[in-house]
Point group: C3
């Protein structure tokens, strides 16, 4: 299974070009569109989203993870194995939260360059062929060079900011919903805790631990983003019970 | 064939998580994204959309139909067979127009609960595994309990409101385009009848019977929604010849 | 491989209906969503987009190419073979730039009409079954009539206008990035040339030859469309070195 996690946009002609490449190299391998709206130009938010989402995918899944505003510069490109899953993408931090939290990460730099390599679309030209080879079960040894560490590293901790706003207007934070969490504040107000949207009255706000384990802010049958002006990057204050 | 009909959003990371679950339980079964923008929090409009669209799919198709603002509350979850097609989703009205119009509906309540059941994403955790089992041809008898009726029922009649606005700005109504329809009014004006967009001059409005049999309001090479301020929920007056 | 290139919208229930039809006629054939946001009602921009994108797909690929504001009028419908690829769509100019640039175009008019043909959705009812037959390897001779030329013809030259704006706000032009290109002006200003986004400072504009060979306007880590007010149809002035 190849899982696409990018900022290529779900409405643009980039994902289709990647899929055509994957279908040519790894015909018959299922391709899952996980997210193509990772916040633009923001590998930090993307790294926390990826770490939260990846756990739901089976061992052997190959993530093609590309948020790459530095494409065409000398930033590195890597293959990573962590918790039985594979990751292919730029070495700009996007894979670094998964790496920091995994007990058993293995890393390779992609040294191969395809015959035709555009300056702005390594997702299609460089990362897709490598991901397709992995998904087919052919470890592309001759295209890779083992390395000890990522060039850009993040720590394993949470990111106390809004990292994603969905089409309902629900705002995901980069903070995991541990049982110790006692109070959540954002946009200058404290949110009530709820277990599901209907835990509060229609139009009221709440925080809950979402289906991938992150603290999320929502409004029952409404938009938290519109109601409270929440945007990706906004700070969130999470207080833990002592 | 599994057909997805949800309000999960075509740009958010929800559909991909559902598909990963489906691919694990029912590998190789084709999955069709029919609609992920059913009007949010609006099972009534969704029920009429589903009833209009389902007829175009072959017998044996399994609809994973989820618009579920009450997820996490005690609302029921059901499997329905109607006209040879299967439907899996919440018992909140979303399946109730299909049910009311079918001559031969069979119904089961989903009594099974998965080991891990998030409070806010039953589409992934509860409905997807059941739909995948059905699509694989394994009727999950041990997870179901036959029932006589849905908890939320709608009648078989039309819904004289806007139920969907597409990206062109065309507005679908919940009224079927019977030959007896004589006049259609919305937004304080009467629409001319056309057989295709070009039946009226560029920029002019028309109503026509759309490709799934509903009365639809459009503007030739323009947006009816923008031109007339039409939104989901707006009333439409349809007069029939006597 | 069937490649979808339409203005049906990536969020609307049109693509899913087409895919259900394709899955019925050509089960197991991979279907790639290349673009469903071809500028509405604009076969001219679409024709240049298609010509730029098609080259990346393998021989034998079948393009279902539909931007069809004249659906339901007597405009023709065609099958075209060019450079080993197949194209199925309306005869309204959408295929005409591919045709003009190919050395070896073959053309057929679609004379077949399905039992049920809606007035507004030939993509589903007419073009999809023909494309599926081609993709399955069954040339549908009895549905086609060889013709010598398209009804609507464009020349092989470039289109010096914005033909697409992506979700980053990057603006694609219809001008191919030949080495002779020396200066690019749009929105009353000259753009600097860059090889990748990071070639200019954050927030600054640039032009580059994009991954499908067209001149594209962008802003490093920003939106060219928002910064300069660029929209589909805007003129671009490209000066060549003499």
């Amino acid at each position: 299974m190849i899982v696409l996690f990018t900022d290529f946009g779900s409405r643009d002609p980039y994902v289709g070009q990647v899929k055509a490449r994957l279908a040519t190299v790894a015909p018959g391998v299922p391709v899952i569109d996980l997210l193509h709206e990772v916040p633009d130009f923001n590998p930090h938010a993307g790294a926390h989203l990826l770490a939260a989402l990846a756990g739901g995918f089976p061992p052997g899944a190959v993530f093609l993870a590309v948020v790459d505003p530095g494409v065409g510069t000398p930033r590195g490109s890597v293959v990573m194995q962590a918790c039985g899953r594979w990751y292919v993408g730029p070495d700009n931090g996007l894979l670094s939260v998964v790496a920091a939290r995994a007990p058993d990460t293995r890393l390779w730099r992609i040294t191969w360059r395809p015959e035709v390599l555009s300056a702005t679309f390594h997702g299609r030209d460089l990362f897709a062929p490598v991901a397709a080879a992995l998904a087919r079960g052919d470890f592309p040894q001759e295209r890779l060079d083992g390395v000890d560490a990522l060039g850009v590293e993040f720590d394993a901790g949470d990111l106390p900011r809004i990292i994603y706003v969905d089409h309902y207007g629900n705002a995901w934070t980069g903070v995991r919903g541990e049982p110790s969490v006692a109070r959540v504040r954002a946009a200058g107000r404290e949110f009530a805790r709820g277990d599901c949207f209907a835990a509060v009255e229609k139009g009221h706000g709440l925080w809950f631990v979402n289906s991938v384990g992150l603290i999320e802010l929502a409004v029952n049958r409404g938009s938290a983003a519109a109601t409270y002006g929440l945007r990706v990057g906004d700070r969130v204050d999470v207080e833990r019970a002592s």
